[in-house]
């Protein structure tokens, strides 16, 4: 783990993922990496995230696949049950829709349905996020579906250090993990300790301390909440930003401690607000802190529509720092 004296490196989330994969494959010969175009023959991934792995660890452990997500996840399930730790890549989250059976009916359930005999320690890495004008079928956030599915964990990092540390933990985890990369944060550089090790799943991070209101968020929206908090500070409002890191299981203790302290909370995510994951968190906060809240718990998320193409619409689709600041201000003035 990083300490104050640890050497710090500047790298993007993508580089952090590459580093985590190298490290995990080096440390454990059971770790496998596969997906469309991931081997070096195919350029190490269309984004280059897996570049170098197949050259170093061989074509048997690092494999490019046909375009067949059901068979990708299926092979991951079987290999995991046979004692391996597959890290399967589904290029974009929208393509997970063709592999839902393998994830939901199989990966997530086989341990339970077998009474504990089957273990399925797989990781599915996937990428998503609006902002690049890839429109309705290339940028959806469906983490809520998987959070609602018993038996699979959902991780959604926001910083390069977390990309590395959480991926290491996801690979070590004895159960299936969906690891969600966000296209707006993946290429943003940040500090990562040279010896950055695993960061535990299920533990939130206080991304910024504050006293008046809690902004509870994860993935790409951490940056927007931090921007909103900076803006709110100029208006005399001190916002605390909690980065969940893991969407499911989420860190109830950390969230309740923060909301208890501030008395006000907004849950912010990129996913559509309607029946989105924010509902679980907001509901729990009001259940647990009923008399202590100074204002209702709010939720911010995308409007009820597909991700639009035109930049002007895409910007309006995404929750912006100004939206968060306005909602926070209104809550602080709530009466």
């Amino acid at each position: 783990m990083s300490t104050e004296t640890a050497e710090m490196l500047k790298m993007t989330g993508q580089a952090a993922i590459t580093a985590a994969l190298f490290q995990a494959m080096e440390e454990d010969s059971k770790v496998l990496v596969f997906g469309e175009d991931v081997a070096d023959r195919e350029g190490g991934g269309v984004m280059g995230t897996t570049r170098g792995l197949s050259t170093k660890f061989g074509d048997l452990r690092v494999r490019s696949t046909p375009i067949a997500e059901q068979s990708i996840v299926g092979a991951a399930v079987g290999a995991a049950m046979a004692g391996y730790k597959p890290v399967a890549e589904i290029m974009l989250m929208n393509f997970i829709t063709v592999a839902m059976d393998m994830i939901v009916n199989h990966a997530a359930k086989l341990r339970f349905m077998s009474g504990g005999q089957s273990t399925v320690p797989l990781v599915i890495r996937t990428l998503t996020g609006a902002g690049w004008q890839t429109a309705g079928q290339h940028s959806d956030h469906y983490e809520g579906w998987f959070a609602h599915t018993a038996g699979i964990k959902v991780v959604a990092p926001a910083t390069p250090a977390d990309y590395k540390g959480l991926l290491l933990s996801a690979i070590q985890d004895p159960d299936p993990v969906l690891f969600i990369e966000n296209s707006r944060t993946l290429f943003v550089p940040g500090e990562v300790a040279a010896d950055q090790g695993p960061i535990p799943l299920g533990k939130a991070r206080v991304a910024r301390e504050g006293t008046h209101i809690s902004l509870i968020t994860y993935s790409g929206m951490v940056a927007n909440c931090l921007a909103a908090a900076a803006e709110l500070e100029t208006q005399g409002i001190s916002a605390e930003v909690i980065d969940l890191r893991t969407v499911s299981p989420w860190d109830k203790d950390a969230v309740l401690a923060s909301a208890d302290k501030t008395g006000r909370a907004i849950v912010v995510h990129e996913a559509v607000r309607h029946f989105g994951p924010g509902g679980e968190i907001a509901s729990t906060i009001q259940e647990e802190l009923f008399r202590k809240l100074k204002a209702p718990v709010r939720r911010l998320g995308a409007p009820y529509s597909a991700v639009p193409f035109a930049k002007v619409l895409e910007d309006a689709f995404l929750v912006q720092p100004a939206d968060i600041a306005a909602a926070a201000k209104a809550l602080c003035e709530y009466d």
Partner: protein, 351 residues
């Protein structure tokens, strides 16, 4: 089926295959002991099935039951050629595959009865029986899904450097779903040691083969995956043996997957108790008249491989095994409701 023609061994051509189907060259034949072993597995399946149906009729088992009566030859022959290290991925209609593979009957019955001593502590039930010790790795209730998972086990064999073979069982209806296509393509491109065993019983629920399947022989689809594919008489242990042997040898040799379309018939309809109105009495009667268990028994006697007494003794001892399993199951208790919090993850979910 056991006409002189089909017992001629390597000349057997029980089906008039279309232009582009493949025919196996070097056909292996089971010796006497092997034939007896296959028959023993068949009887174990059939007795277990019969006893299960009796318990259902008496109202002692409440879950839906997908009998495989009539399909005994397929897994019995394959299992004879497999070891405990070899693994299978099977389906809701798969108890025969497990029994053939050698799964002990006590935990099997306890599971069917939802008891704590079941293979899955009563959490999975008959559609999700699992028994890794005998290689029963996955039982799925989703049509087609045994195949992509089987590939993962087969990939693991390559990684392990082992000779372990994986068998994926599925039905004719399943050959029309996307998972079939994706799995066969991947297995072929990766040369995986996996055998895709389609039990073509002519029906998918109430739908007749030809009303849902666009090709006369499913084995022809293997052409599209550059893989050997054979239509086999799945009720003939000799034809099954020849093809299963070739497929397993090929897999063990590292030459890749094979598709076996095994023609058979399910005597009890889709789910036990269904009305069978989607088939004619004639075709059902014709199938029943060719009960593979009866025919193979006769062949063993005719060929002097076993005596009436031996076969009766075999049956009696198997019935005792089944009865013992039933007694065991009904004496077993139920899981505590805490089990809802266990096996979701490795770590127990807090209460």
């Amino acid at each position: 089926m056991f006409s002189p023609r089909s017992s001629r061994g390597d000349k057997a051509k029980p089906f008039e295959r279309g232009l582009m189907s493949q025919t196996l060259e070097n056909r292996a034949s089971p010796d006497a002991a092997t034939q007896l072993d296959i028959y023993r597995r068949m009887v174990r399946i059939e007795r277990n099935d019969e006893f299960t149906r009796t318990q259902i009729r008496r109202g002692r088992i409440t879950a839906p039951y997908y009998s495989a009566r009539g399909q005994e030859v397929i897994p019995s022959t394959l299992s004879n050629l497999m070891t405990d290290d070899d693994v299978i991925c099977t389906i809701y209609r798969g108890i025969h595959d497990m029994v053939a593979k050698g799964m002990p009957l006590r935990p099997l019955w306890a599971e069917i009865c939802g008891r704590i001593d079941g293979t899955c502590k009563g959490k999975g039930g008959p559609m999700h029986l699992t028994h890794p010790e005998t290689g029963v790795m996955v039982t799925t209730g989703i049509v087609g899904s045994s195949m992509p998972i089987a590939n993962g086990f087969a990939w693991a064999s390559l990684l392990d450097g082992s000779k372990r073979v994986t068998v994926a069982y599925f039905g004719d209806g399943a050959s029309n779903i996307g998972a079939f296509h994706e799995a066969l393509n991947l297995a072929s491109v990766w040369k995986l040691p996996v055998i895709f065993v389609c039990s073509n019983n002519g029906f998918a629920e109430h739908t007749r083969y030809e009303n849902a399947t666009s090709v006369d022989f499913i084995s022809k689809r293997a052409i599209g995956y550059g893989m050997p594919g054979y239509t086999v008489d799945g009720n003939d242990p000799l034809d099954m043996y020849a093809h299963a042997h070739a497929a397993i040898e090929r897999a063990r040799a590292g030459d890749g997957p094979t598709l076996l379309e095994c023609k058979t018939f399910r005597f009890m309809g889709h789910v036990f108790g269904d009305a069978d109105s989607y088939m004619t009495k004639e075709e059902k009667d014709a199938a029943l008249a060719k009960d593979p268990l009866v025919l193979f028994r006769q062949k063993l006697l005719d060929d002097g491989i076993a005596t009436e007494e031996q076969l009766e003794e075999m049956k009696t001892s198997i019935e005792a095994e089944v009865q013992d399993a039933i007694d065991f199951a009904f004496e077993s208790g139920y899981a505590s409701v805490d089990e809802l919090r266990r096996d979701v993850f490795a770590e127990e979910i807090p209460a």
